[in-house]
Each structure stands twice: as structure tokens, then as C-alpha cells.
Symmetry: C2
Subunit: 218 residues, 2 copies
Amino acid sequence: MTRSEENYLKIIFHLGGSNSTPITTNAIAEQMETKPSSVTDMAKKLAEKGLVNYKKYQGVSLTDQGTKTALSIIRKHRLWEVFLVKKLDFSWDEVHEVAEQLEHIKSEKLIDKIDELLEFPKFDPHGDPIPSKDGKFMVRDKQLLSEVAIGDKGVCVGVKDSSAPFLKFLDKNKIALGHTIQVLEKEDFDQSLHIAMEGRELRISHQIASNLYVKKNE
Amino acid sequence: MTRSEENYLKIIFHLGGSNSTPITTNAIAEQMETKPSSVTDMAKKLAEKGLVNYKKYQGVSLTDQGTKTALSIIRKHRLWEVFLVKKLDFSWDEVHEVAEQLEHIKSEKLIDKIDELLEFPKFDPHGDPIPSKDGKFMVRDKQLLSEVAIGDKGVCVGVKDSSAPFLKFLDKNKIALGHTIQVLEKEDFDQSLHIAMEGRELRISHQIASNLYVKKNE
DNA sequence: AATTAAATTTAGACAAAACTAAAAATAGGT
DNA sequence: ACCTATTTTTAGTTTTGTCTAAATTTAATT
Ligand SMILES: [Mn+2]
Ligand SMILES: [Mn+2]
Ligand SMILES: [Mn+2]
Ligand SMILES: [Mn+2]
């Protein structure tokens, strides 16, 4: 498995290409920051290796083997992110870039030992689940803050957009995973929310609310 | 800097190509497990970038910039080796292969934090010195056990051959860095040594003795 | 000094992963 | 059903790092 092949599999998985849902050439090209013609070439190569299903003009989906491989890369990526935050004091907006490199290190023992050192975390710093060695992971029932009804409370458990600018914005406004949020009011005009959190009240835009996941309290 | 360029610089350094000592094409090819013609190609490219001095048929040596780069790769390699041993319980014969990959991860912050986590170690698990950020490192006055005079004592501080088979042999015979060794007798016939170490006596071949570094006691 | 052996470089080719430009297939709108 | 816009594929290049085979230079030996 080359680094490039691994990145393609990971991206196809993230675009939903597991469960034999076909993903378009253009969608993959956009995520890979490459050209559609390059995606076609790689689709053929991965199909040759039995990692994806590919029929001309019909898009690409992962085989079981391809899904398994994608999950093992994602497992490594997220474990390294946890490592960087918990053991090396990186902030959650700095880890993704480095994890993009570390995820390609080939050593089963290494990642198992990292997992052990971190005491087998189930979620990464952005709230995304960490697949186990055999490719299983928790699906947390969560919803976007923008879809929570007025008056309801929830715990912030993840971000949808994990870009550095968004994460830095959250830091600046002291919004962090684990905080409890109550929706006080929704502004009809611009969909902004008035929320209560950790003993203070603040107003956040729809754009922010639709990139924050909360787990509703029972 | 590509991974391949980094590996070439590291190998030229290890062959003594710092201090403007020219290293032959063949020697580099052998270490890189590649063909001499490939080395010539790379020599041109590295010369183009100002990392090596290269004149046709005259061998290759590192420039100051090339030496600096080589030392930063070696620094990363050795720090990762310490990390693997101290934090993840790898044995000293398992770390080299993984460090060969980790040494190419590009993040200044990452390696500085690893350095800090390890409390700024000065030597790697094989007794090799770890260069500082500015490329300085300790030169320990050590000598091969095979060159120690009869009756003299020394502390085992490093290995010359750090291949897995040799390291495993040392483990099996409970020879480890930090142990004090006294040479009791040298066998004229096969140059084997009779030594005392940690309260027991044993006989070791010349081949072993000439791959173990000791620091003589004053 | 001439010959031979060894080391090194050149020339041409290849695989991986990307690109551009052109051709082909699909999907939408009338 | 036809035309058009979009998507996708093909064909032909490029770059990086390698290779083989042939040519050249250097070193060693007579
Ligand atoms: Mn990647
Ligand atoms: Mn993440
Ligand atoms: Mn390397
Ligand atoms: Mn070492």
C-alpha cells in the first residue's frame, strides 16, 4: 500500500463510499485536491487490487477489504491525534496536519502500544470515534446544535468542521467538548442562537451551530 | 526535501562525508541498497541544491547546509528510538526499523515536544549521541572492548553493530549498556576474551568484543 | 608507457502519481 | 427525441527515483 493509495481509500470512506455507495470521480478529486483524470487512474489501480468496486462512469465504492484498510488508516490517524493532545500538549487545531503524516507509519506494534499508552481512547480530540483493531467503532447518537429545540440541553461532543480556523474560534469563545449547552432562543431572522453554557450566555451564528455536535440529555 | 534525499544525506554523513571528506559513489550505493548510477543522479540533484559538493569522479561530501540537514534527520531518528524504548517498551533491537520511518515526519514542534517528554536525552538506546537542535552532540571517549588491556575495567556504553541479531545476542547473554566489564584474559589463539561482568564471568568472541564500546574507568 | 581492471558516468527505459487537452458518455431541459 | 452542459475517461506528458547496458574515466600492473 502506497501513501497515495491509503489517502484515496480514506477519502472514499469519508465520502460514504462504504456500504457499496458509489462516490463520484469529481467528489474524490475535490477532496484529494487532484484532477478527475488522476482519480480515474487510481480507481483502476485500486480496483485491480480488490480494494474498490469500479465500473466506468459508475463511480467508486469500497470493497470489504478496502473498508477494512480505510478504517485502519483512520484508526491510526485518530490515535495519533489523541497522542499529540494528551501526551505532547498540542492543541486540537494543530494535530490534524501532523496526523496526516503519522497515519502512514507502518508498524502494527507501534499503533497498538500508542493505543495502550493512551488507555484505549474511544474518541479523538474532535469527538470522532476511533475504530478498534477489527474495524468497529461507536456511533454516538448526536445531533447538530442547530437542530436542537429551544429549551433543550445537550453536551457538546464533537465538531463537524475540524478546520483550524473553526477550532481556534471555539477556543477563543471558550466552547469546548464536554460543556453543557442549553438553547435559550433561536433568532428567526438569521438563525442565530442564544445559548447558555458553563454559567454564561452567548449568541452564536447559524454557521457555528451547524458545525457543533451535541448529545441531548435524556 | 524528499524522503530519498534525506536518506542519502544521512548515509553520506554516516560514511564520514562531513568535514569535506569525499565518499565514493559505490560506498553510498551499497549503503542505500541501490545502484551506483542512481547515486550519480542523486549527487547531481543534491549538488544543485547546495547540500553536497560533487565533482565528476571525485566523490561526494556534505556542505555545511548538508551536514546540518543530515544531523537534524539523525536527531529525529535517535529521539524516536528513545521514545519507542522508554515510553512504548520496545526492545532496542526493534526500534531502528520504525525510526527509519518516523525520522521523516515533518514537524519541528513534534520532535521538540518528544525531546521534552523524554527529558532531553543525550544518547539513544544503542549509545549513539543525539545531536541538539543546532547540530552539536557529545563525543564520548570510548573504545572497543577488544582494545581494552588485560586487567582494565570499563562501563559498556554503546554498540558498533546495532543489527537486531547482535542486539538479541547481547540480550540473551545479559550484556547491557551500563554494565561494568573487566577484561580478565585474552586468548592468543582466537582473540576471545574472558571477562567479568555483574558478578559473573564469561567468555566472548573477538567478533563480539570488537562491536562493543566501553568507557574506561579512570 | 601501454594495457587491463575497477569505478563512475551517460543514455535510454520504466513505474508511480500527477498533469493538460481532447474525446466519449451521461444527464437535463426543452 | 434531440441538443447541450457536465462528468468522466483516454491519450499523451512530466517529475521523481530507480534500473540496465554501454561508454568513459581513473587506478593499478605489467
Ligand atoms: Mn494521509
Ligand atoms: Mn480528528
Ligand atoms: Mn530513512
Ligand atoms: Mn540507534
